[in-house]
Symmetry: C4
Subunit: 235 residues, 4 copies
């Protein structure tokens, strides 16, 4: 992992958490009378913001911002496993930093969330949400359309805020980051591990689906000399 | 029909029903005070989610998820009729599965809908909605712009949720799937056949329009050796 | 004007009026408590629907659906003046038909609107709205980016519903069509001519701006042998 | 600076202010019961309108409409410093004109805003908002994707209306323009300089980040003979 790639993952993860948590605080504060409207505002901001963040950082780090994306990238022969070991903590640190920044921008104290979310329907929803996210990204990568990942991932998450009951965290790093804001987008620490477990299950299911539905000719894409596969896999 | 194509139609149809029914449940639950706002949230999620589903599965199965699209594809010399016989039941099974999954994600029991929808204005609306959908898809296919079908179909359905009185089902498979959720997006079983009848009328009208407005040079596109036409027709 | 082009202008204009009036009726009925929310739903549906209609019909007729666009196209050396004389009545007939269809889809009687709109601020807004629309279209055409007109025009109108006080009719044909629905998007007949007058003023101002800001090398683009200019001008 | 470029910066800046202030007035008037909904309508119109304005004027002037963008463009070896001295006053005059036009379209008197905004959290938010905007633009420019700046900037601002507490002015010229409308989007004159100071801090931070994350091969891009860099930097 180059220093530039690490910085890009950090900034992108921080940006993602700032968008998710910050727009959640704004929505909750400004639309107190209707939770659906607040979630709509939150989803609108997240869909647009995530699209832009992927667009900006994809050429530098692949714009994962998400440990399960980095994991499936490695499983598919993309980046080496030592990159996983470096990306993941940077992603988590970035998401925590971004949540703290969002709190500061809105003058809200940083505090552990008190929103319990770990019900069985919500965990099923996280499996579905994460499987869908991984399927979208790697379907595009394996059909040489990685340049569409930015708007596709933004659109997917915008939809998934509503079509899943968990509002689609789908990302272990953002799950940790959301735990440090006791606001609209927060999650109580006790719900974090169950959510991450469900996300890992979803990622593995999606990876099996991706292999079956989108076979690639080259069984070992990591050896492509110009490295274009692993960059593509990242965006 | 290859196994991969069948799996893609099943997963895509299930995804579509999960998005439509799931976001309907979320919208109804979180925005109880304004039906228009709930429909807006439902339309936002459906427009984005449908765009992404078509993008993901188009290279594998053509991303129909809709019996009338498969039917008109066959009428236009695209996929053979035996594919219609295989796609259609898979689409219906996928949509039912997706609706059941949405119910489960929200902890809502799977039950037949009690929402009667079969009024004459709604049936007229389904004719219009389906005709518009078929016209959009095949206009793009026949002018070599099939790559724009994903965002165009998503945008069309997002608009049609509002500009038709029926909220634009425009798809016999999703009409059946919606019958097994007694929630916002549901439809009572007694309204299913009238809706499907109106959709078939709309599809036939649109097919006549498409032939008149977008003539193609090759009278028998199915014989194109590389199969590119039938794939294009599918997306 | 070929019969196909005339049919495309008729269908596209009817589709536009059905989207504008139909989504207006849905919004007004389903969101009775907040006019801004109803306008938001109306703008969302119109932005998406208009984008799709231009995409579909541009290869056939240029997808004007708007007399001032046809007029400026002719002024710029695009289609001949006899086409203006044929397109304009077809556009008006299409918009009236689409409004009647929207009324029928919602079970609302077709009746003259009783919404007076002709105030001086609204007329100023129509000048601005129409000038902006014409500028967007012909700026793209004259810089060889006509393929971006569909999403750009949809986005422009979606924004203009809110940034102008008149909600941006910006089209004499749709202004006439809206007069036959006494619903959210309607306009009283007495306000129609003042609106059309303001739209013509805006179109002429925009055309002067376009000529100054986007000069083209060829002073008489209509003589380009392959006709690509006049087609481009149309989309 | 050619006369055409100056006119484009003036018109684009006026258009931007008209969209921001005008849609703010409409939102505030039509959705008086929920500030979040009004901001959502304002953000929707601004995201779409800004995208279209950049698309239209980029080939003529670079579509900055923003002194900090012009400043960073000059710092990066793009346009010469004398262009900065000419663009900036034109941008400010354009934004003031656009705000006055918005007031006139809504029949609202032009008056100094009474909305104090200069709190420490809001100033932090302006640093973040401006840094993000500059990063988005120059990341795209330095990776040869300047053609994506129009939708990316529109999407970024749409998100930033919600994820920052200041609603993301991020532009000294629009900050001045908003001061002359005592409406939803206004800012009291006493808050203008603190906001501009925060914006300058954000721009400098972003410029340091851009240099570190997106190094370009040519250390002096301004000498590229065909001028393509400086045009790219502008859009």
């Amino acid at each position: 992992m180059s220093a530039r790639a690490g910085a890009a993952e950090f900034l992108g993860s921080a940006g993602l958490a700032a968008v998710v948590v910050g727009s959640g605080i704004a929505a909750q504060t400004l639309s107190p009378g209707d939770v659906g409207l607040a979630l709509f505002e939150n989803a609108f901001a997240t869909a647009l913001g995530l699209t832009v963040l992927i667009l900006v950082f994809a050429p530098v780090s692949g714009a994962h911002f998400n440990p399960v994306v980095t994991l499936v990238d490695a499983l598919s022969g993309g980046r080496p496993w030592r990159t996983v070991a470096l990306y993941v903590p940077v992603q988590v640190a970035g998401c925590v930093t971004g949540a703290v920044l969002a709190n500061a921008m809105f003058g809200v104290p940083t505090a552990l969330s008190t929103t319990d979310r770990a019900t069985w329907p919500h965990l099923l929803a996280e499996v579905v949400a994460t499987a869908g996210l991984v399927l979208v990204i790697f379907a595009l990568v394996r059909t040489e359309r990685a340049h569409l990942a930015a708007p596709a991932v933004g659109a997917y998450i915008g939809a998934a805020y509503f079509f899943t009951s968990s509002t689609s965290f789908a990302n272990p790093a953002i799950t940790v980051g959301r735990a440090v804001s006791d606001t609209f987008a927060g999650i109580a620490p006790a719900s974090v591990l169950p959510f991450i477990g469900a996300q890992l299950v979803g990622a593995v299911l999606a990876w099996l689906l991706v292999r079956a539905l989108f076979p690639v000719a080259d069984p070992d894409p990591a050896i492509v000399p110009d490295g274009s596969h692993s960059e593509a896999a990242a965006s």
